[in-house]
Symmetry: D3
Subunit: 107 residues, 6 copies
């Protein structure tokens, strides 16, 4: 999805995208906690694409629905009811991720 | 600090403040992780008072400087260089918290 | 629409949604004025879903097109031309609400 | 306070400042309601100077403490706990406005 | 597109839209530089409609892809990775503008 | 000013600060235009520290008061009247920069 952008030859953009990826790798904090941080930051800044990206990573790293709900709760409290439409879409996406996983397990 | 506001008799505001406090209590996620979430959300929304509040809580719950730096790094990547002045003040506050703690230990 | 979220068992989220609803009920200020406040807040924070929600409430409570235009004007002045696309969609939605009402009256 | 800016000769800025003033004048909505709209918009966008400006106008137009509290409640619900520090300062400023008024009345 | 809004008779809105247009005209700074300013402001405030509008203007005024990439780079650095989805859509739109131009030239 | 932060050993933060600096260097666009872009982005995101930083750079690169006013005008139109307090402080800072320069020239 970022191929078009990365094809541009602009070094600052390329390094920025790389750095963004690096910041979520295991370190003093686990990648799992870092993806949670990315999720709540994306929610309070209200970016659906970013929310979905971090939900996908959280799901892959074994974050549970109860944990997701607590992250969404903090995001809503900090960021306000303006986050509710994004929260609704986040939950719908999470449910879809879980259903997809369940179907794969059944096959 | 919230006494003046809480003295107003407005029930919605009171319940909102209570709810905000509840959202950071131990649950599926630990209070420690939740304070980290509050910190990164405050950083990307650029609220110095909120950042200091969560830094204080993080410090009390044993979050290390290395962990704080990784949270600040994610906040800066997600929220951009507009967060740098807040990051600088956050680090200064954290250093002050550590120095205060160290002096207490020496006495 | 919030059924999926409300089905989660997360108490903080549930209470937050309830509190959000409570804050728009008649009090020292009428529900009518409060929905106007919700509308302008949603416009400057640029949330189309929230704008539509409050436009629907305003319409049901008898707010006129002239009043809506003055709210949109304040929102644009405070929030800037970045609000123009949301303003355009808000006006389109309001016109649709009025046409729907008119058709109902004709039948 | 805007004298320095207005001295610049930039017509767009001058017209913008004039337009901003015009948008709060009596129309389909009263100046009183419009200042409330300006207040809640300033709160959710978290601008202390703007909040104080509209609190001053609201006070001059006879808005009561109970009404202010309901506006602040809506602002906090829509904009989130990130608005709490601004809410605290808003209440402190309002209390100061009321005390100043009371002293004038006593003299 | 703004016809519906402009049909409303609200003078503040009309003047605001006019003023917005005026602010991008040649002056001490060229319209070309001003459209770049409008583009980066739209990117950090994350408004896709506004970004596309200014990309169209930039394209018509001869801004090159290399210049666009540097504007996008600054926008991403200042505004953070939350701007990445908007950056991707901006690049896609720019590529479409260039392809459209090329086809016109070939005919 | 960033010494404390840079002393931390966090590589992502260090690289991010370096990248931020790189993005304003001469390229397809001049450093002068890039600082203007940084200024308008800082204004619409309402960060006084960032605004002052870019005003200082603009001043050093020979941007004139008329050009600054046009940048501020675009920032106010895009970002709204919520930017007015920041605009006032920006103008005050610019006047101070010019007075300081004039005094140096007189000595």
């Amino acid at each position: 999805m970022n191929d078009e952008i990365l094809s541009t030859g602009n070094k600052v953009l390329k390094r920025f995208f790389n750095l963004d990826t690096q910041s979520y790798q295991d370190g003093a904090l686990s990648a799992r906690v870092k993806e949670m941080l990315g999720l709540v930051a994306s929610l309070v800044l209200r970016c659906d694409d970013c929310i979905r990206y971090h939900l996908g990573k959280c799901h892959a790293l074994g974050v549970t629905r109860e944990e997701i709900d607590e992250i969404l709760a903090i995001g809503n409290l900090v960021g306000g009811s303006i986050c509710i439409p994004h929260t609704r879409r986040a939950v719908e996406y999470w449910v879809a991720l879980e259903e997809y996983e369940q179907k794969k397990d059944e096959n």
